[in-house]
Amino acid sequence: MAWLEKHVPKMVLAPSFAVILFFVYGFIGWTAWVSLTRSRLLPRYDIVGFIQYQRLFDSPRWDTAISNLFIFGFLFIVISMFLGLFLAILLDQKIRTEGMLRTIYLYPMALSLIVTGTAWKWILNPGLGIEAVVRGWGFENFRFDWLINPDYAIYTIVIAGVWQASGFVMALFLAGLRSVDDEIIKAAQVDGIPTLRIYSAIIIPSMAPIFLSAFIVLAHLAIKSFDLVIALTGGGPGYATDLPATYMYALAFSRGDIGQAASSAMVMMMVVFAIVVPYLYSELRAKND
């Protein structure tokens, strides 16, 4: 009986553990192996070294994809966090219609990124959307053609992404704001400290864990972004808005270049690790202390 009590949890968890071990870590290992081969249409298993990684870093399209990831990731995370925090603070002023406003701001999160992307594609299309409307008002020289301008197209993805995610970040921060101890705030108010300073010196610093979770959620959204790009720009104009995920898909499924796709998947995974590992490390260390 005692033996059972001790081992039942392990036995219950074992199948899912085995499945994850195989389907997640097993296939990470498989991808790593294939990325070292000359696989084309079908996977091959004779290792030839780092040739696929050399090809990857020689490819101007991959350069574009990686630099797009950093532009998109940075702006998406920073603007979403800033807007989310700002909206949360505004909503936190004990206003009457808070419930309704909160729902409205949170609503974009309920949409699929494909829907967001398609809607923004029409809104940003110079011949149909904002540019056409403003020109229709009589401003004939108004230009807003970021969607078809290869230098600016990546920013349209930031716009759509921020629209989608900032409501969610707002909800996170709103919960955080509510969890700050009322007593401290009241004490500060009694001392006559201005509201702005209460926020900057007391409330926001005490929400550090929320910032971290928001950052992790947004960062992984940014790295795995695929559907938004496909729906909004299709990676174009040219390949100006390619991200590593769309690059990998194109190489694996349209180009029959599995080895190259595997190497790009490995690089993507390393980028994710570079962000997640420090987070896990700090979390675990905090618990051990």
């Binding site: 249409l41 720009t233 174009g236 390949y239 499924f253 180009r255």
Partner: protein, 415 residues
Amino acid sequence: MFTRTTFAAATAALLMTGSAAMAGPKAEVLHWWTSGGEAKAVAVLQKEFADNGGEWTDMPVAGGGGDAAMTALRARVLSGNPPTAVQLKGPAIQEWYAEGVLADISDVAKAEGWDKILPPAIAKHMKCDGKWCAAPVNVHRVDWIWANADILKKYNIKMPTTWAEFNAAADKLKAAGVTPLAHGGQAWQDATVFEAIAKGILGADGFRKAFVELDTATLTSDKMIAVFDQMRKMRGYVDDNFSGRDWNLATAMVMNGEAAFQIMGDWAKGEFMAAGKVPGKDFLCGATPGGGFLYNVDSFAMFKVAGADRQAGQKLLAKLIVGKNFQKVFNLYKGSIPVRTDVSLDDFDVCAHKSAADMAAASADGSLLPSYAHGMALRSAQSGAITDVVTAFFNSDMSSADAVKALAKAVKNSL
């Protein structure tokens, strides 16, 4: 007791006829012809197969211009159970052969005399190591230029026969406020225009050197710079909203008189026809300047399958695909022309007649060329690398000299 035995015998007899019927030719066919005219075209083949006693298992996988079907194919081949026949084309056939999974259908080809009725340049694509491993279905011409007849008449413009003429006509139209070129800013459409220009400026030999042999000297030659210069000119002839536009919407622009020309393969003809437009009257078709003929040949590759019934199905399918009746009916639906040269073209339109005549002429003088943009000339990794450069050039202000350098580098990187 007696009745029971009779019953058992009757059942056994029934089962036997049943299994005899099951042993007829069988084919499981993987394809991505699922839209309107294409689906009708496939139904023709299905019916003909059934009429000859065959049992057809349809395996349509739509999506991504065949990408989804290729993924399904990979899974089936890796699990050791490939379909009987798969819609494949160009060097992809030889690539799959190199993986050791294609069957040999040379006996059908010999019996039907394929060597005599197919243009040699196209027959070459159907052979793996000298053995026949695929059956051709149709010939799409890629280097067409479609024009709105009313616009051309109004501005007194003739179908261009040189790129200089095209530029002069386009400048004239642009000055008059008409969009000269309907174009969709998708990589494969950029590549389609690019290869039409390359065919005109490089000539047949230059095109073959550049896009079949990937000869570095040709890829970086002054002529290739001239190709990119013309491409840069084309960029000035498209409207502002071309990014991401689908090809059929660009065709509709020509149809509705919003644009004068479109450079696109003959599947665009299907769009005109579906809208009730008459070739030669409402719209004009002409070859892009510079001679030659760029083909995109659809075909079915035959995979190694086990079982006499499936092998018989494979051979029957191959025979029917190249058969005269199917070649005619299918291509009337699809907008392409028959791949064999001895099919009567009486029911076809003027554009198809021109296509067939040009193909025969090109086949005779060696300028029958595989389309690189549609996967007939190169492995997809290589053609994709070229398309990346073309589309990056078309959508930026890269200089032509930089473009040929990038082209040479991309080709080297893709090998």
